[in-house]
Each structure stands twice: as C-alpha cells, then as structure tokens.
C-alpha cells in the first residue's frame, strides 16, 4: 500500500508541471593541452531555469608520449551567468573541489573513477534567453574533457493554472 497515495494531489501536480518542471541542462566539452576555453549552454527562450544542484565529472590525463590517466586534476573553471555577466566564482576553482563524482576513468589502463557523492548546491535563476558560461583552463599537456549537469527547474510561468 502506498501511504502517500491519498496525500499527493496528482491532478494539481500535473497542472503545475505544465509550467514548472524538472530539467537537467548538460554541458560537456574538451579543453586542449595548456589551453583555456569558454564553454556555454543556452537557457533558450523556453523559460527561466532555476538551477539547484550541479554534478559533474572530468578526465585526468597527462602525457610523456602516450596519454596517461594519472588521476591528477588539471582542470579549473569559473562559472558565469552569461545573461547578467555575473561571475559566480571568485576565481578559477579546481574541478575536484566542486564536482562530484569528479574524476572519471578515461583510458582502459586508468584507475576507476569516483562515485557520486553530494552535489554542489547552487541555487541560481538563469533567466530566459541567457546562457550558462563555464570558463575552463587545462594545465595538462594533453586535452582533458569535462561534463557538468545543471539540475533544476524550468519555469515557464510563476503562476499556477
């Protein structure tokens, strides 16, 4: 028996979900050796996006010939609200301090990646027609990849129907 069946007003929930619903915006890119890259994901005109948490992973490769997955965090990034041109980080932060699960296995010979722990709470309203900007620097001598999921709510209207 589902004890919540009588408490959840599914009809009302369904109405709300026509204008406010859970959404995940995904940003993934590759940053070249010793390079900096400004990566973006569009919020689109669909509605505002209330970000609540971010999770993410990245590769940890360097080389002295062939690429080696040595488990060292070479990437650091700065999150910016592209609509307001507002930096949400004071400086470039090493990704292992903000992203979980963090390191992921990128080569067959590499060690296992990390497990998903507690996401970074990041409650911020990215407005419609703006973009999330992630400025990333790679201190490795080979390219490294990263991926970030912005978990939040798409808001097409604040009013309930």
């Amino acid at each position: 028996m589902n004890v919540f069946a009588g408490l959840l007003k599914t009809a009302a929930m369904f109405d709300v979900q026509t204008v406010q619903y859970s959404e995940v915006l995904y940003l993934a890119d590759s940053v070249g050796a010793g390079a900096q890259k400004v990566c973006r994901v569009s919020i689109s005109a669909l509605g505002h996006f209330l970000c609540q948490f971010i999770t993410g992973s990245f590769t940890t490769q360097a080389t002295a010939g062939l690429p080696v997955d040595n488990g060292i965090d070479y990437l650091r990034g700065k999150l910016i609200d592209g609509g307001a041109q507002r930096a949400l980080f004071s400086d470039y932060i090493p990704l292992h301090l903000i992203l979980t699960p963090g390191r992921r296995k990128s080569l067959a010979a590499g060690a296992a990646g990390n497990a998903l722990f507690y996401p970074l709470p990041l409650e911020y309203m990215f407005t419609a027609n703006s973009e999330i900007v992630f400025d990333v620097k790679n201190d490795s001598d080979v390219a490294n990849n990263f991926s970030i999921a912005f978990h939040g709510v798409r808001i097409k209207d604040f009013k309930r129907k």
Partner: protein, 167 residues
C-alpha cells in the same frame, strides 16, 4: 506570460577560492567580501597534500580557525582539524608541477582529483565591509618539498556561500 526577474535584488550563490601557502607557522588570510553584499558562508571545501611524492606523510594536524572581525570574536575555542568540516581534505595528495600550466601564478602545482564527499554546514553571516579571516596552522612537518617559501605547498580553500545584496 514569462515574468521578468530582477536578479540585481536577489541573493546568488558565490564561491570564493583561495590557494593558501602552508608555512611553518600559523598563516592568517583575510578575504574581502564583494562591495554591496553581505556574505552567508555555508560551507568550506578544502584540499591539501597529505604526503609528498615519496609517500612521506605531511601535515597530519592541519588546523583551521575562523574569526568574525565585526564582532572581534573567534568562532571556536581553538583551531581544529580541517577534516572535521570538509572533504576531500587530506585526500588531495601533492604530486608535481603541472606539465603545461595555462598561467603559472600559484598553479605550478596540481592535486590528485579526490572526490568531494561530506561537508559540515556552517551558516555564518559576514556583513558587508567585513572580512572573512581564516587561519591555517599545524603545518609543522619538515620535508624535502616543504616548508620552503620558494617552493611552498598549498591548501586550496573554497568558501561556498551566498552574496546577499544590502537592502
């Protein structure tokens, strides 16, 4: 109809990053708060090297303490281990110089990508024009790589919180 949002009047998450050299005495730093904002410090994330490249243990007792300058008071009775409020803490092991640093200012060293795990929530409100004072102590173990002001080790500190506009 999509409503406008006045984000200038809203609080927003703000992460402050500092790379602090580990010295063989207490190292106190001041972090200024952005003009026009109060800052609600929610969590501290820290990473530092617990062993050198040869596996020799470093800094088994690295402590942190906080001071609230506006009220001239310490926020704990004594400095305590960074591990008690933050992860990855000592799991970020010192390795070596970055092979191709984009800019070398303080980033000539990189850390292992230890997972971000648990945090203690602090919820300390710093008012505008105040400074967040952090003191790092306990870096007393001599090693081949440290403590040397020309080649120091670091503790990476992220202050996670919210910038709150002054009403």
């Amino acid at each position: 109809m999509l409503q406008k949002i006045d984000i200038a009047k809203s609080r927003y998450p703000y992460l402050i990053f500092r790379r602090i050299p580990l010295l063989n005495h207490a190292n106190t730093i001041s972090v200024a708060i952005n003009y026009g904002f109060d800052f609600l410090l929610r969590r501290i994330t820290a990473s530092y090297d617990s062993q050198d490249a040869g596996g020799v243990a470093l800094y088994p007792a690295l402590d942190i303490s906080l001071v609230q300058t506006s009220r001239q008071r310490s926020l704990q009775n004594q400095a305590f281990s960074i591990l008690l409020i933050s992860s990855p803490g000592s799991e970020g092991v010192y390795y070596a110089a970055a092979p191709a640093a984009v800019d070398t200012d303080l980033f000539s060293k990189v850390f292992f990508a230890a997972p971000r795990e648990l945090h203690k929530t602090l919820n300390i409100l710093y008012r505008h024009r105040e400074e967040i004072m952090l003191s790092i102590s306990g870096a007393t173990i001599a090693s081949a790589v440290n403590p040397d002001l020309n080649n120091p080790s670091y503790v990476d500190i992220v202050l996670e919180g919210d910038n709150i506009p002054i009403k």
